[in-house]
């Protein structure tokens, strides 16, 4: 068994193969020259947290090849070639190659893209109280870094092209609450602001804006999306379309080759239409598990409700389902003032939920909403909006099945 990519997904899959009874060799190939580590803490607290240690890899008898890239895949020969010249034969292969931070479409000055431990280590050394930071991109990574930089006393400006933060992933009212929290922390959030260029000057980097004005900063950070790493699959002739295309059980178009995590695009039973590519820790973890069972012969579909969280300042934002799939909404205001947003489709089925609150205040309710989404329950909007109706009780009702 060979796993290419030692991020959250690949590492989980490697351990899951052993946990599910595989007694043969398991090789985990990772491009970074260190132990597999968690990405979420990097942009939130600058923290480096390994997923496992050498002892755990040894105990599971997983052969870990760090600092190694796969350069070629031959699905017919069932072999993958590495950049150290070796070739690994596989019975089954998992592509968990993740994604790469998208670069800005222009040069002119150094820009920090943030994806890896190394990226964060470098950025962190440039920040201190009073450092002027320009964050291009008001998505999750940009906003988490803005909050983390502000916590160090940096003077932060966020430049977002769209008229609100975090795009269609989060409903407008939640984005508004988050924007207000950044403003309260002294972060200058500018939406509807297009960046047209960068130039280095003696005093710093000048970021030019479409309205003709500019912002001068000491450090530029860009969080403008991530591009799935599909080159290996493409060169091998696998079906690729902004992600390695897989079926419901994460199998690619090549026999015995699976793909999972940030690099794959898969059909989701709850969201018919274009297959999804999810960039979240939970999806990476769970897809690593599903891919492993698939590699061992199970025919199990990945059907988990999408879910992710983002920590910014003292707030934790959580989203279950796909906010963009909702055509109607209901909002519940809890006694503690926290707003829970529920997204419904045209049949009145709950398809998404989102909330933001201090610490873990929203976790329980979003988790219950996630269960309602999975159960495909049709829930009256007024019951969702009524803080007197326990979400748990809605789960236990006989769901109205269409």
């Amino acid at each position: 068994m060979v796993v290419v990519g030692a991020g959250e997904c690949g590492t989980r899959a490697a351990f899951a193969l052993r946990e599910n009874g595989w007694t043969g060799p398991i090789t985990l190939v990772g491009g970074e020259a260190e132990l597999p580590y968690e990405r979420p803490p990097l942009s939130k607290t600058w923290a480096h947290k390994p997923i496992c240690d050498d002892e755990r890899l040894r105990a599971a008898d997983v052969t870990y090849l760090p600092g190694t890239h796969a350069t070629a895949l031959d699905p017919h020969a069932h072999a993958v070639t590495l950049d150290d010249g070796r070739t690994l034969a596989y019975a089954k292969l998992l592509l968990a190659t993740g994604a790469t931070a998208r670069p800005l479409p222009f040069d002119g000055a150094p820009v920090h893209l943030v994806r890896t431990h190394g990226d964060v280590r470098t950025l962190r050394t440039r920040l201190r109280a009073g450092t002027r930071v320009g964050v291009i991109g008001g998505g999750f990574i940009g906003l988490e870094l803005a909050a983390a930089a502000a916590a160090l006393g940096a003077d932060v400006t966020v430049l977002e092209l769209a008229d609100r933060l975090m795009g269609r992933a989060v409903p407008a009212r939640i984005a508004q609450t988050v924007a207000a929290r950044h403003a309260a922390a002294g972060v200058d959030v500018r939406c509807g602001t297009a960046v047209t260029g960068l130039a280095e000057r003696a005093g710093g980097t000048v970021i030019s804006l479409a309205d003709g004005t500019s912002v001068e900063v000491d450090v530029v950070v860009a969080g403008v999306g991530a591009v799935p790493n599909t080159a290996l699959a493409e060169r091998a002739g696998l079906a690729v379309d902004d992600g390695v295309l897989v079926d419901a059980s994460l199998a690619t178009s090549a026999p015995d080759v699976f793909a999972a995590g940030d690099c794959c695009r898969f059909p989701h039973p709850l969201y018919p239409g274009r297959p999804l590519r999810l960039e979240s820790w939970r999806a990476a973890q769970q897809q690593g598990d599903t891919a492993a069972t698939g590699m061992l012969g199970a025919d199990e579909a990945y059907t988990a409700v999408p879910w992710f969280w983002s920590d910014q300042h003292d707030l934790s934002l959580q989203v279950a389902g796909l906010a963009a799939a909702a055509t109607d909404e209901a909002v519940r205001v809890r006694p503690d003032g926290v707003e829970l947003w529920f997204g419904l489709d045209a049949e009145g089925r709950l398809v998404a939920a989102a909330a933001v609150g201090p610490g873990n205040a929203v976790a329980k309710d979003v988790r219950l909403a996630e269960m309602l989404i999975a159960a495909r329950v049709v829930v009256p909007a007024d019951a969702l909006a009524d803080p007197g109706v326990a979400l748990k009780s809605l789960l236990r009702r006989t769901p109205a099945r269409v």
Binding site: F15, Q285, W309, N360, A363, R367, L368, K392
Partner: protein, 105 residues
């Protein structure tokens, strides 16, 4: 010599729910099962030390609110990644409407 410490009133915890209890600088979580039995564990998840009391209790399981690590709250057993280490449990008893947990000295 371990001791029984009063943690809360029986009605302080809803059915199939959890509340926090702090004692001597340590955090604990007290659970009430759907059939009215009480259980207690350490208050922090063994994964990244988040407070379990903010998590969902359902079907014998407490889920950590942060990453959904799952524990059987009756035995403390960690039910799979990301939680790999069991959470410590403490014996409980109910006397005169008060829930007591047995804590080490």
């Amino acid at each position: 010599m371990s001791q029984w410490i009063a943690a809360c009133d029986v009605e302080d915890v809803d059915l199939e729910d959890v509340i926090p209890f702090d004692h001597a600088g340590n955090a604990y979580a007290v659970y009430r099962s759907p059939d009215d039995a009480y259980f207690a564990t350490d208050g922090h998840c063994t994964h990244e030390q988040q407070l379990l009391c903010d998590g969902l209790v359902m079907d014998g399981v407490i889920e950590c609110p942060k990453h959904n690590g799952r524990f059987d709250y009756t035995t403390g057993k960690a039910l799979g990644a990301p939680v790999l280490v069991d959470v410590r449990t403490y014996a409980t008893k109910v006397e005169d409407g008060t829930v007591y947990i047995e804590l080490p000295p």
